[in-house]
């Protein structure tokens, strides 16, 4: 999303946009819709802990009913994700239905289904944008996080899109400790395929909670990233995800506001509506689109959303000179790292978050876990030996009885 505000449209004394948005909008600007928890990959940092499909996922008809509501609410476009949305057999039907009903679609994919034929079809639809996920500018860095072969899959998809004439699709990168040195390489890769680079923040959400401590950019890297973003301005998209870095000085392009429940929200595969895509937890659950009132009812009536639209006080941060620019940072990042919601972001550029992180219990007790986990269970979770102690049966008079012993009275002892 690129935001422009016509200069001169408000008197100098008028309210700032961010102050207006604090009270919420009649409909979200930016709605994320995870269509399925099924995924062919098992990325270590998956926000939605995806892997297996949930049997309760919205049917094709239910998905279309949601689109009808979005059209009526004039939601301009949805960001469709997952899981891997294209593995749903009705994905293309849902996409065509949305664009025919004036709801633009930007979908995130690892590229697995972007064949030359699909790429041509996507390039022909003005109302569709594609976002290819890649978290390393080299196979080595990417595949360590996203799994073997995922780099090649993503690059093949980009080549197919470029060959089909698709312009300005997005190359979407989650910034980690390992890829911060690759920013120029990512930009070159995006340019090579006529794509636009989009950088987002690593969140401690979903499986990301388990790897965040080791993968989130170091303090020096945050500064490096901020300088890189400032140097590249609006040519690089960020989904407004680095507003906590604005406290370094100049504000980054975008709203610089936590939009949870005010301008953004998430619909998950089973129709649950959460305040933001990074907060799949009961604490941030506003309702479900299947209930009477549908999505519009949740957006307009939810008690949680009403609360999020109240003016927030800065809590521990209100005395900080930078509170007005960073607004205390990301709610989900604080929540899943176990920090108080009215305190500093874990990556606070003043270092206040680090101090709090250091005080957490080493064994992570008390840290919230995501409410749903759809990770695949195809491999045993235990990798070490199973500890057993061999003992003698306490009663040697009593012979072992198998389940298929023929005598129905086997093992019966009358005393």
């Amino acid at each position: 999303m690129t935001i422009t505000t016509p200069r001169g449209s408000n008197p100098a004394s008028g309210p700032r946009l961010v102050d207006l948005f604090e009270h919420g909008l009649d409909a979200p600007i930016c709605l994320t819709w995870e269509l399925t928890y099924a995924c062919n990959l098992a990325c270590a940092h998956c926000l939605s802990s995806s892997g297996r499909r949930d049997p309760r996922e919205l049917s094709t008809e239910e998905a279309k009913a949601v689109i009808d509501e979005l059209e009526a609410m004039q939601v301009f476009y949805v960001n469709i994700g997952g899981g891997e949305p294209t593995v749903r057999s009705d994905f293309w039907e849902i996409l065509d239905y949305a664009t025919a009903h004036h709801v633009g679609v930007k979908f995130s994919t690892n590229g697995v289904r972007i064949t030359p034929e699909v790429a041509r079809r996507l390039a022909a639809n003005d109302y569709v944008d594609v976002q290819i996920s890649l978290d390393g500018a080299t196979a080595e860095v990417n595949d360590a996080l996203r799994g073997p072969g995922s780099y090649d899959t993503a690059v093949r998809a980009m080549r197919n899109l470029a060959d089909a004439g698709m312009k300005n699709f997005k190359l979407s990168v989650v910034c980690t400790r390992h890829n911060i040195p690759q920013m120029d390489a990512f930009k070159a890769l995006a340019d090579a395929y006529g794509a636009q680079l989009r950088l987002t923040r690593l969140r401690p959400s979903g499986r990301g909670a388990d790897v965040w401590d080791d993968l989130h950019p170091t303090r020096e890297q945050q500064r490096e990233l901020y300088d890189w973003l400032v140097a590249h301005g609006e040519t690089v998209l960020t989904g407004d995800s680095f507003f906590h870095l604005s406290a370094y000085g100049e504000a980054l392009p975008g709203l610089n506001l936590c939009g949870a429940g005010r301008v953004v929200c998430l619909i998950d595969p089973v129709g649950d509506v959460y305040a933001c895509p990074f907060a799949i937890h009961d604490e941030f659950l506003a309702g479900n689109v299947r209930r009477p009132g549908g999505f519009a009812g949740v957006w307009r009536e939810s008690e949680l959303f009403r609360r999020l639209r109240q003016p927030q006080n800065g809590g521990a941060c209100s005395a900080c000179a930078f509170y007005d620019t960073c607004k205390g940072g990301c709610m989900a990042a604080k929540f899943f790292t176990g920090l108080p919601l009215d305190g500093p972001d874990p990556e606070c550029v003043q270092g206040y978050g680090e101090d709090l992180l250091a005080k957490r219990p080493q064994n992570r007790t008390g840290l919230p876990r995501p409410s749903a986990d759809h990770s695949r269970r195809t491999s045993p979770t235990r990798t070490g030996p199973v500890p057993l102690t061999l003992t003698r049966r306490p009663n040697p008079d009593r012979p072992p009885v198998s389940d298929c012993a023929e005598d129905p009275l086997a093992g019966l002892r009358v005393t």
């Binding site: 999303m1 001169g8 449209s9 008028g14 946009l17």
Partner: protein, 91 residues
């Protein structure tokens, strides 16, 4: 781009969708995928009157823009034209 000529006819780009909000409106251009905000309801009225007005100046008058404010609204329209939200209407 210098200031637009408000004595010519203008209109919203056909790929632009307008969503009124309590503070003004949201504009979304499906072609450029850009979002823009109108921070006041009167500017929304101006933008909505462009289609049927012979000139942008007439659209401002129809929306009740007082004469001293014309330059400011002209500047806002120029900004919208720069991002292709508003385009010159050709007969």
């Amino acid at each position: 781009m210098s200031a637009i000529d408000i004595d010519r006819a203008w209109d919203l780009h056909p790929q632009v969708s307008v969503r009124p909000e309590p503070f003004g409106a949201l504009l979304y251009h499906f072609g450029t995928r850009k979002l823009s905000f109108l921070k006041d309801r009167r500017l929304l009225a101006v933008v909505q009157s462009l289609k049927d007005a012979p000139t942008a100046r007439a659209a401002c008058t129809a929306a009740g823009v007082p004469a001293p404010d014309l330059a400011r609204y002209g500047a806002a329209l120029t900004a919208l034209a720069r991002s292709s939200m508003v385009v010159e209407r050709t007969p």
